[in-house]
């Protein structure tokens, strides 16, 4: 990679797999369970966190030498709150339906442990460019899991992807009846639309990941 040094590249690639914020650090679970019933919502949530985390990391990193350590949490909160309000307003202006689906969970990005965690653990001690890359990496790691979970939940729960029916029409016209796989008696799995199933899917991802890389297994 010519653009990034090896060390910098690791900042992006590490959180994607071996140090994933959701499956390894088990942070940001609440939103991963709550909004992944639809792929579109998962993707938008991922992008929102990408924006907040990368910009927030840069801001905190720039201010890292002037923030008194006693009030650093408050400063971090103000930064992330300001960014979240921007995201929230943009969504309300340009994608109102989607912002209603995501409801409080955009606002709750403020309390997403991944963001506070990266501010504390990385941005406060590193230069802006590295902090930016770290933000991108962690947000992508978060988004990847959200999209995987959202893909399975929407496909198996509603039979659609991004709202487009891909498994056929469950009701169909009165003459022909259901089409696609529904013609064979297939039915959508209602359990997939409930948050507990997201937890189980995240668990399965963790299972697959750790059985492929034994180093990740803790005692």
């Amino acid at each position: 990679m010519g653009l990034l040094s090896k060390k910098d590249a690791k900042l992006i690639t590490d959180p994607l797999a071996d140090n994933n914020p959701i499956t390894i650090q088990v942070l940001g679970i609440c939103s991963a369970l709550a909004i992944t019933a639809e792929l579109k919502a998962s993707l938008v949530m991922g992008i929102a966190v990408l924006f907040v985390l990368s910009v927030g990391n840069v801001v905190i990193s720039l201010m890292r030498n002037i923030i008194p350590s006693k009030i650093r949490i408050i400063v971090q909160l103000i930064v992330v709150a300001a960014l979240v309000i921007i995201v929230d307003q943009v969504l309300k202006a340009f994608a109102f339906e989607l912002s209603k689906t995501l409801s409080v969970f955009i606002g709750l990005i403020i309390t997403n442990c991944i963001i506070m965690g990266r501010f504390e653990a990385f941005a406060l001690a590193n230069k802006p460019w590295q902090s930016f890359l770290d933000g991108i990496g962690n947000a992508l790691g978060y988004a990847v899991i959200l999209v995987i979970v959202g893909f399975f939940r929407e496909l198996l729960g509603s039979g659609t992807l991004f709202g487009i029916p891909v498994l056929g029409d469950p009701i169909g016209s009165p003459e022909t009846g259901p089409t696609g796989v529904y013609a064979f008696g297939y039915e959508n799995n209602g359990f997939m639309l409930m948050p507990p199933m997201a937890l189980i899917i995240v668990g399965l991802i963790i299972w697959v990941q750790r059985s492929r890389n034994k180093n990740l297994i803790e005692d």
């Binding site: 008696g185 297939y186 039915e187 799995n189 209602g190 359990f191 997939m192 189980i200």
Partner: protein, 412 residues
């Protein structure tokens, strides 16, 4: 001796073949091999896992056979082809070959799918972890067909069994390590994933559901009701049990419901058999019944005192006589065959009393307060499965504390 030795020799001869784990996994299935350990002292006990599991299955076989007769009986009754049973348990309208045949061909596929999928997954995991198949699934595989509606599509059952065995059992380490009862995990999965096939007033009688209806019969879908007594009570309708004969029929099991859970009489006999053979815990069964009666009496008291209006949606089940709760729905079946599962229940004697009592208590509470889904026993058992280790922990700690006190008094 012949077969055992041949199997053993076969295994020795093919020791370095690649497929041997597959054979080893099922090598000791249902019998004890002749191989013995030569060093050290060993205690041999007759009540190993294989025997325990077989006894539970024996206790369930009457329910299965009865379920086959009942499936046919309910089918013919709903289509108006035979009269309602009025002449006791050995009624000749119930025990007919015709009833049995209809039920047999409906229930056999459920059993085959349940065992086929479940054992395939068990063998797969046994091979992967290179240990022998444990007999844990034998009981689960028999329970599953007994606790589902008769017309459940087979592929749904297969998906649910796969889910239940993998997520409910194998991820925790297989037989003996599971937190939740696998059979109930399977049923809970079906209920939440495909609710239209697991509840309502159509699914309990073969052929009553328009989705599986045999149109050649010429019956109009709306004319047939497949509602359970519990379901109708939840709708403030007690017309299904307004005579003594109806109540006896509910006790005998001539009522619609999941395949094997209708006959309280046979479940009672199965329960006595389990208690007699010391496989099932009488403490759990008894305390669970006590819990249900206490909760039922509380609700009866509330209804009698007039604290709840008759138009309330809770009134129907709240005013149901407390003993009626023991006869209808899956309460008896869950208490006898699933709450007593030794893996997921409490282990301490005092813990068993608490565990069972809360199962009964919460079952009836869920029934009454959730009329949309009156079958509370499944959720109650799953909930208490989760709490069983906590109960045990406090019972053990309490014991330790008590004895420490005694020790101090003595030494002081």
């Amino acid at each position: 001796m012949g077969l055992k030795n041949n199997l053993h020799n076969f295994r020795e001869k093919n020791k370095d073949k690649k497929w041997l784990p597959a054979f080893s996994a099922i090598h000791t299935f249902l019998y004890l091999p002749n191989e013995t350990t030569h060093n050290g002292t060993h205690i041999k006990a007759a009540d190993d896992l294989k025997r325990t599991m077989n006894i539970v299955i024996m206790a369930m076989v009457p329910c299965l056979i009865f379920g086959m007769f009942n499936a046919g009986y309910q089918h013919h009754l709903a289509f108006g082809e035979i009269e309602r049973v009025t002449s006791g348990f050995f009624s000749s309208t119930f025990w007919t070959m015709d009833n049995f045949t209809v039920g047999f061909w409906k229930i056999l596929p459920l059993v085959v799918v349940s065992y086929g999928v479940g054992l395939a997954i068990e063998i797969l995991f046994a091979m992967k972890n290179s240990h022998e198949v444990e007999e844990g699934y034998l009981v689960t595989g028999m329970l599953v067909p007994l606790i589902v509606p008769i017309d459940i599509p087979l592929w749904m059952l297969a998906v649910a069994v796969a889910f239940g065995v993998v997520i409910g059992k194998e991820v925790f380490g297989g037989t003996g390590m599971n937190i939740l009862n696998p059979a109930l995990t399977i049923r809970a999965f079906l209920f939440f994933a495909y609710p239209t096939w697991m509840s309502g007033d159509k699914v309990w009688v073969h052929g009553a559901d328009p989705r599986v209806q045999d149109l050649a019969n010429g019956a109009t879908p709306d004319a047939i009701s497949g509602e359970t007594i519990l379901g109708s009570l939840a709708q403030n309708n007690s017309s299904m049990i307004d005579s003594a004969g109806d109540i006896w029929n509910a006790f005998y099991g001539f009522i619609p419901g999941s395949v094997g859970e209708t006959s309280t009489l046979l479940i009672l006999l199965g329960g006595l058999f389990l208690i007699f053979t010391k496989v099932g815990s009488w403490r759990i069964m008894l305390s669970s019944v006590i819990g249900a009666i206490v909760m039922g009496l509380i609700f009866n008291g509330v209804a009698d005192a007039g604290w709840i209006s008759e138009s309330s949606k809770f009134y129907g089940l709240m005013s149901t006589d407390f003993w009626m709760h023991l006869l209808v729905g899956g309460f008896a079946f869950g208490t006898v065959y699933m709450a007593t599962d030794p893996v997921t229940a409490s282990q301490t004697n005092k813990g068993k009393w608490i565990y069972g009592f809360l199962i009964g208590f919460i079952s009836i509470m869920i029934r009454v307060f959730n009329p949309a889904y009156p079958e509370g026993v499944m959720l109650a058992i799953l909930l208490m499965n989760v709490f069983a280790p906590t109960i045990d922990h406090y019972v053990v700690q309490g014991n330790v504390k008590r004895r420490m006190k005694r020790l101090k008094v003595k030494t002081a």
